[in-house]
Amino acid sequence: TEDFVGHQVLRIVPSSDEELRKVQELQDLEHLQLDFWLSPRGTGDPVDVRVPFPSLQPLKVHLEANGVPYSIMIEDVQALVDQEQMQMLRQRR
């Protein structure tokens, strides 16, 4: 089973065309294995991206170096997955 320990979901809201372009460029960085939950749309629209643990630091550095602000939407994806599983098990019992 795939585990998502340490994966975070970042929310990025590009506020200019330049920021939007920087975020769009992330989609081409295959080595980071980013999973776009919400793909870039336009300025002011949120972009949500699940980031595997090994890619967290390089991505955050990249964003900060380019002046693209972000927030952490989900601190630990696996924790939410575990909660979901627990809830399903409880309901079945």
Binding site: F4, E30, R41, E84
Partner: protein, 312 residues
């Protein structure tokens, strides 16, 4: 594991796996033989049955409304909402005057788990799986995005030719049996008047097109319907929705479901993106299933009623 004895004891405020949903469907059919039937419209890549619930008060080939949920497997609130809609139709078929008048003249088809292989995979191996589970020779990557696999601008911008991409369009249009089954069903039926495909998340109600900036000929009417549907949805819990065409509201997306259905002549083609605004994404807590389904149902009723009252 205890199976529910009836659809009254089924837990609608919890997520369920494929077996449980299929048991629910059988129970619903058994309890309502004069209204609900189960059709198998095809088989998935991994040979799972593709079931559609048909809600009909009789007649042959009546004008119909199609609703599907769960084409992207990780969007669990959609399958869960589909289950709730099915029960709601049965519960309200007589006491809700609007629904009763719809069912007096139209059939409703509901495909709750449009991508069963992917859905099982999200329960067993990878909660974040989105695509189908088809394999391609020459690639280690699995699956096609079934919302880029339709024959409407197939292979164009907003879809990917890389089998490893989440938006991989597949080798050719309708390559995925899950898509082909719906295509064949819609064509063979020939009298579907409204088609609603339900996704999550980001709180949007969208109409065609996604593959081209050319507005659909019915843009003004669809915009007005979307406006009314969103108003109805928001009236329950104040959930904020945006509406518009796919390409103007989100981004270019080629090979999408409702672009194909619209081009087939199904004027009232819409797609939803259900809750959330950015706290949980695809991991929406189960406590939000019922409120999400309730508010979405209000919007669905607006679309269905409009289709009923505006025959074409």
């Amino acid at each position: 594991r205890l199976q529910p004895l009836s659809t009254d004891t089924f837990d609608y405020s919890s997520y369920h796996n494929l077996d449980e949903i299929y048991v629910f469907m059988d129970l619903l059919v058994a309890e309502n033989p004069n209204l609900v039937s189960k059709l198998e419209i095809g088989r998935s890549t991994e040979n799972r049955p593709l079931y559609v619930l048909k809600f009909s008060k009789g007649g042959t080939n009546r004008p119909a409304i199609w609703i599907d949920t769960g084409i992207h497997s990780r969007e669990w609130v959609t399958q869960a909402s589909g289950v709730w809609f099915a029960k709601k139709i049965v519960q309200d078929q007589e006491k809700d005057e609007g629904l009763a008048s719809i069912l007096d003249q139209m059939d409703i088809f509901l495909e709750i788990v449009t991508n069963p292989d992917g859905f099982v995979f999200t329960h067993t191996s990878n909660r974040m799986w989105r695509k189908t589970r088809s394999k391609r020779s020459g690639s280690l990557c699995v699956g096609v995005d079934p919302n880029r696999n339709w024959n409407a601008g197939f292979g164009g911008s907003g879809s990917s030719s890389s089998p490893c991409s989440e938006t991989y369009h597949g080798p050719y249009a309708n390559s995925e049996p899950e898509v082909e089954a719906i295509v064949n069903f819609v064509k063979n039926h020939g009298n579907i008047k409204a088609f609603v495909s339900i996704h999550s998340y980001s709180q949007l109600l969208l109409y065609p097109y996604g593959y081209t900036t050319t507005p659909v000929p019915d843009v003004e009417e669809l915009h007005q319907v979307a406006k009314e549907a969103v108003a109805a949805l928001s009236s329950l819990y104040g959930t904020k929705y945006t509406y518009g065409s796919i390409i103007t509201t989100i981004y270019q997306a080629s090979g999408g479901t409702i672009d194909w259905t619209y081009n087939q002549g199904i004027k009232y083609s819409f797609t939803f993106e259900l809750r959330d605004t950015g706290r949980y994404g695809f991991l929406l807590p189960a406590s939000q299933i019922v409120p999400t389904a309730q508010e979405t149902w209000l919007a669905l009723k607006v679309i269905m009623r409009h289709a009923l009252e505006h025959p074409y």
